[in-house]
């Protein structure tokens, strides 16, 4: 075997070794990223649940009525709307009797 061939073979072995090391390191990094993403997924699930609960609390009818009262918003409830439509009729019926 000539020296040149020996050097080439040695270089090839070194190349394979370095590739293996690189792939192994990359695999370790990928696993670490996967683990971090999984942890993030768990955190996001937790955040989502918290936000959903908060939205649910804000959508609660009692809360909406309280806010409407607090901000004195000029909203007409369905009950008031129907009362205003039927008020003349009620007045007529009451006076008629």
């Amino acid at each position: 075997m000539s020296v040149r061939r020996a050097v080439m073979l040695l270089g090839m072995f070194v190349g394979v070794a370095l590739t293996v090391v690189y792939l192994r390191a990359e695999q370790a990094r990928t696993v670490a990223r996967t683990l971090a993403l999984e942890a993030r997924w768990v955190d996001l699930r937790r955040e989502l649940w918290t936000v959903q609960t908060e939205v649910a609390r804000l959508r609660a009818p009692e809360q909406i009525h309280e806010r409407v009262q607090r901000f004195q918003a000029a909203l007409v409830s369905p009950v008031e709307a129907i009362e205003s439509r039927t008020a003349p009729h009620l007045a007529a019926r009451t006076s008629g009797r």
Binding site: R45, E62, P78, H89
Partner: protein, 582 residues
């Protein structure tokens, strides 16, 4: 004698043999040790390695949500971590407590005390269910001796609203009451697990293939309850119960066409986040668990059976004897004295004397079958725990006074739910439906697993034409200026209904307690095509103020009906609209 000189080769050979023997001995010892380690110590070391290198993190599954009919969240779960201390990794507990106390709003001395009480423990929880912002602040400390343990917490965004329907969960996250208990299996999820291989500092290094599993979230539930109607009903029940200093109260709203329970309230209510803070009787769902003698609200069923069976005609006048009437040795009285009245007048004025005479005309079998036909004496089968069937005595136990008592709603115990469903049957052309509380079961991804949209018919209580006659001619007359339920009138709609004022027995059932009444009213509207049936029962209102069902419960039922009809956008009755046009 001179010694023979030793040759150098011989010395080398001898020492070479010694070194070789020593090497052999060393390798032999190493080999023996290796064999010992790989055989005798192997299980122990493997276990130790497993402990050191392998770790697992729980991935919490979420318990399913409970929605109302409009998709509002009634119950949900979220993560609220516990803060714990590992004393073995804390050098100065006083310094740590001084940092941690203000973050968790706990006195530092309390933290120190907790740790000093259990110094050998590696897991001392110092705060349970902390908010996300506090958890972040604790994490920011980056103290090796402080950690967060994930814990699922059940929250009820509507507070105490519908609490007797929803129920609550225990510390282990499983349902203990209400829908949370009945459908616990569907709601419960299964926690996942992430197995990892860790480095010397216990940091995750690699993902272990074995032992990892994803979390399986619980399924969701859609109820027939409407949070707005529930709020309206609870508001009226609360106001009424407080106004009359009542002991307790129940209110139910159902859709007569589908049997869907739109609202179910029991007063007093409680906070589902702290159920242990109230006595057990507050947690009872009285609409299902407390059968009681209904009083006059029961008269509608007796008169329905009498009309359908031909025991009385619609035009016949019955003498009500001006307020006093004897049945054997028993004296029957009316609140006001009346002369001759038709069935319509008897129901409108809620005459006991008239009703007793009607019931006496019926055969025992006809009366019994009528009562059973409306579903009394058996549980309705609603999806809630603890439902009582009530009590209808078999004919063999009837006495000569049974028909008299039944005519006035005594000697029979019914639950509020049975009563409202029986009125729903009258409003639904005589068809008795099973009450429905669950509209659909959803999977964790929100897809419908099972739907319960089809009404379940329990039977035909009375013929359609008689159901319509009773509703439109008899019960509609109760909610008129002349009727006992006049305070339930609402503008734009004709309302049907029936008042009830029942005496309450002593707890030992020996006689009736003076001044103790069950005031009730059940109403439905619009008369032409009822969309909602509302029942309110108020137990032991302060008798010095008022105790008649028409005074205590009818106004509140009217308010609930008014709100429900407006909310459901039900147009006013045609007759009323014609009157308006005139």
């Amino acid at each position: 004698m001179a010694r023979k000189p030793v040759s150098i080769q011989r010395v080398q050979r001898r020492w070479g043999a010694v070194v070789l023997l020593l090497l052999l001995a060393v390798f032999g010892a190493l080999g023996a040790r290796l064999t010992y380690i790989n055989t005798v110590l192997r299980p122990k070391l493997l276990q130790q390695a497993q402990r050191q290198q392998h770790g697992a993190t729980a991935i919490p599954a979420r318990r399913g949500m409970i929605f109302d009919a409009q998709g509002r969240v009634l119950a949900a779960s979220r993560q609220q971590p516990d803060v714990f201390i590992d004393p073995a990794r804390v050098e100065d507990i006083d310094a740590l407590a001084a940092q941690l106390g203000p973050l968790l709003n706990i006195p530092a001395a309390q933290i120190v005390e907790q740790v000093r009480q259990r110094p050998e423990s590696r897991f001392i929880v110092v705060a349970r269910g902390v908010e996300a912002v506090d958890a972040e602040a604790v994490e920011a400390l980056r103290h090796p001796g402080v950690g967060l343990a994930e814990r699922s917490a059940r929250t009820y965004p509507l507070g105490s609203s519908a609490v007797h329907v929803l129920g609550f969960v225990g510390a282990d996250g499983h349902g203990l009451e209400g829908i949370e208990l009945t459908l616990d299996e569907h709601l419960s999820g299964r926690d996942g697990r992430r197995a990892t291989i860790r480095d010397a500092r216990r940091r995750p290094l690699w993902r272990a293939e074995e032992g990892s599993s994803p979390p399986v979230d619980g399924g969701h539930i859609v109820l027939t309850i409407d949070a707005e109607i529930q709020r309206l009903t609870e508001e009226q029940l609360d106001q009424t119960a407080r106004k009359y200093s009542a002991e307790s109260g129940v209110a139910i709203v159902v859709s007569p066409k589908t049997g869907a329970v739109l609202a179910l309230a029991s007063w007093p209510e409680f906070d589902p986040h702290h159920p242990q803070a109230v006595p057990p009787e507050h947690r009872r769902n009285r609409a299902l668990t407390d059968p009681t003698e209904a009083g006059s609200t029961f008269k509608s069923f007796v008169v329905s059976g009498a009309l359908a069976g031909g025991f009385v005609s619609t035009t016949e006048e019955i003498n009500c004897h001006w307020g006093t009437y004897h049945v054997g040795r028993r004296l029957i009285t009316d609140v006001h004295g009346y002369g001759k009245m038709t069935v319509q007048g008897i129901i409108c004025k809620s005459s006991n004397i008239g009703m007793v005479q009607i019931a006496q005309r019926m055969t025992r079998e006809a009366l019994y079958n009528t009562i059973r036909g409306f579903g009394f004496g058996e549980a309705t089968g609603i999806e809630l725990p603890g439902e009582a069937p009530g009590q209808v005595y078999p004919l063999s136990k009837w006495t000569s006074y049974s028909a008299t008592s039944l005519a006035m709603g005594y000697e029979v115990s019914v639950t509020p739910l049975q009563l409202v469903m029986a009125y729903a049957a009258l409003a639904n052309d005589g068809v008795l439906l099973r009450p429905r509380l669950v509209r659909a079961l959803l999977g964790p991804d929100g897809r419908v697993v099972q739907s319960f949209d089809t009404p379940e018919v329990a039977g035909q209580a009375i013929p359609r034409e008689w159901a319509r006659y009773v509703c439109r001619e008899l019960l509609a007359g109760v909610v008129t200026p002349e009727g006992s339920g006049r305070q339930a009138q609402i503008p734009g709609y004709r309302v049907l209904g029936k008042t009830g004022t029942a005496k309450l027995p002593y707890p030992n059932h020996r006689g009736y307690e003076p001044g103790a009444y069950l005031s009730s009213f059940v109403g439905a509207a619009p008369v032409s095509d009822p969309e909602a049936v509302v029942l309110m029962m108020v137990r032991k209102p302060r008798a010095s103020e008022a105790y008649y069902g028409g005074t205590v419960a009818a106004p509140a039922v009217g308010e609930v009906l008014k709100g429900v009809l407006a909310y459901l956008e039900i147009p006013p009755d045609k007759a009323e609209a014609l009157a308006l046009a005139k």
